[in-house]
Assembly symmetry: C2
Homo-oligomer: 407 residues x 2
Amino acid sequence: MQVASASRAAEPPLEGLTVIDAGTTIAGPMAASFLSDFGAEVIKIELPEQGDPTRQWAPKKDGVSLWWKVSGRNKKLITLNLSKPKGQELLKKLVLDADIIIENFRPGTMERWNVGYQDLAGVNPGIVMVRISGFGQDGPYSHRPGYGTIAEAMSGIPSFTGFPDKPPALSAFPLADAVAGLFGAMGAMFAIYHRDVKGTGEGQYVDVSLYEPLFRLVESFVIAFDQLGFVKQRRGNRMEESSPRNAYETSDEAWVAVSASSQRTFERLAHAIGRPELANDPRFANNPSRVDNAAELDAIIARWFRQFCLGDCMEILKQHDVVAGPIYDIQRIFQDPHYEARDDIIEVEDAELGTVRMQNVIPKMSKTPGEVKFAGLALGEHNHEIYVERLGLSREEIERLEAEGII
Amino acid sequence: MQVASASRAAEPPLEGLTVIDAGTTIAGPMAASFLSDFGAEVIKIELPEQGDPTRQWAPKKDGVSLWWKVSGRNKKLITLNLSKPKGQELLKKLVLDADIIIENFRPGTMERWNVGYQDLAGVNPGIVMVRISGFGQDGPYSHRPGYGTIAEAMSGIPSFTGFPDKPPALSAFPLADAVAGLFGAMGAMFAIYHRDVKGTGEGQYVDVSLYEPLFRLVESFVIAFDQLGFVKQRRGNRMEESSPRNAYETSDEAWVAVSASSQRTFERLAHAIGRPELANDPRFANNPSRVDNAAELDAIIARWFRQFCLGDCMEILKQHDVVAGPIYDIQRIFQDPHYEARDDIIEVEDAELGTVRMQNVIPKMSKTPGEVKFAGLALGEHNHEIYVERLGLSREEIERLEAEGII
């Protein structure tokens, strides 16, 4: 493959960009990860002794957090206590030569520590500060504790996710944090474009909440209520705009997702399940009729799926070019030839755990691909490189800072 | 507010960047929207007569698609049939002065039309091409039809979303497309950084599938299986790593999401529900014990919530600084003072529907904020501006192209 061979020689696209990851747990560190996946130098700040909370998170192997191995990957690690004046001074020294700083403390915290946006811009007017928080930097809730779960709840999405006879379904992973991290990384690049490509030299801050990114993604959500009074409801795996769209169980207790609401895709599905006449049945003749009669249609389709095992179902559906796919768990993902061909799972050497496997970088860039160089390292691993080699601190200063709990 | 007043004067960050949106429906157009929200000039290509499929999507008002009003916002609209040689010629003329082109056809389609990456790079070596598809540009499934629902199913996420006694829960909006759109816009900015800030002048293509972006977001998913054989399961609104974390129903049938697994947050919750002794109960004394006894703990908490209406619950929880939030539907979002203070919902004038309300741009940039200038316009609205004023076509050429179904 041309792409892969070209990739070896080229450097990642963001090489030369320096990012300070002053975030903790998920959202801020994930924004930083999207940049470090593509070659930005990310210097991650952790509290002395404690380190990032994800270092303590389950799941663990031999006492080592697996989450940390991924969220800390590709990052240079220094310890630094920002609540102490000497720690604040050191941060400002780092900011002098940095392009981006990412943080996700409660609004006001960085200001209390004398390292708010104004303080840092005073040191380096070109600095781009990505500030992630539950509710954003202003507004009446801005000082409330905001975790991803709460932000997701208030984004509106869980109210229409899941089944009507069950509670609203929350994500079982930090979706709000992850999407906020994406908006944070993207917003940082917009600010860098303004600063460097347009040549203004001007930095700024980027205010990312956890609830607004998810709210933004559901494009028809606001306007449908505004114009029609439409309140989106939980409908299980059906959709109010299209049918059939559902997950169906096979004879071997696997599930297959099907999306076949356009006329052509529905006709292909009808053929695949041996019921071509359904496309002419007035109840199912077009998408609006199918939506009105979704329960009947789903019963017919579900009956077909229950006759066959997953492999047979997929074989028949593929022959008819039906838009369908199995609901994978991680076990099936490890067995899937397409995941394998795309190198979606990579092996990374790790001093603590040996070889670990994790997700590759996303997306795939043809000339300057990103790469994973190493998994999450030990607390303070790069203290010497950053404090001594880069900032020029002496051995005595380092020892004093360590003794005082600054680094 | 300083931010808002500064925002009026400054131009959006991406002004000067030209993007061709050759995508259809969701993923490609959404990537383009994230850029046009921040001032990039986005020229959207639609099939003559038919237009983008979202123009026909529900929900509609007076026959006008509401979805289109959002997904088409801020975009200059031209008609162009890429399957015809003259259409391909016109695209190449547009590419000559463009920075980015975004497409989401099945892999191979653009090549068949002589406008694949090699063809376009031949015209403009600096062009950045964002290619979004169900399964990516290579690998055994690359030519399969890939809709967001299928990609989501194969990303692994639905397998652990929802309740164990119900089918896996798929999203009720195009989540995979939206997240792919984010990775596409972010990847485009990485490529622009490589081209313009590092000054290589070199374009490239960015290969974004619909399944990999979601797969990437669940950081512990791969490594937990690799190292521990752990297969993430559906647990309703509980999490395997933390407790309590759930949604609880109030006396007035509202739902509240609670995340209180750290010791301090749990103690605050225990106080709020009048059961401070729970923090010393060996079953609930620390997070691992709480995870083991999650059903018992949830029963105690759920009993408390059922005694009060939503307003009373939230008032008590707020007094104790508990990390909790109501599960909002769109009606509650419209009434929320924080959404209002943050200008999350804006009014946009529209020739067809009068004033329409939709989501504001995300994130908030302090010096160069994005903005929504107009909602989705009519098919071919900018044909004159682009074809006549920019490309210099004559009135006769335009008429001939129209007659031939090229534009």
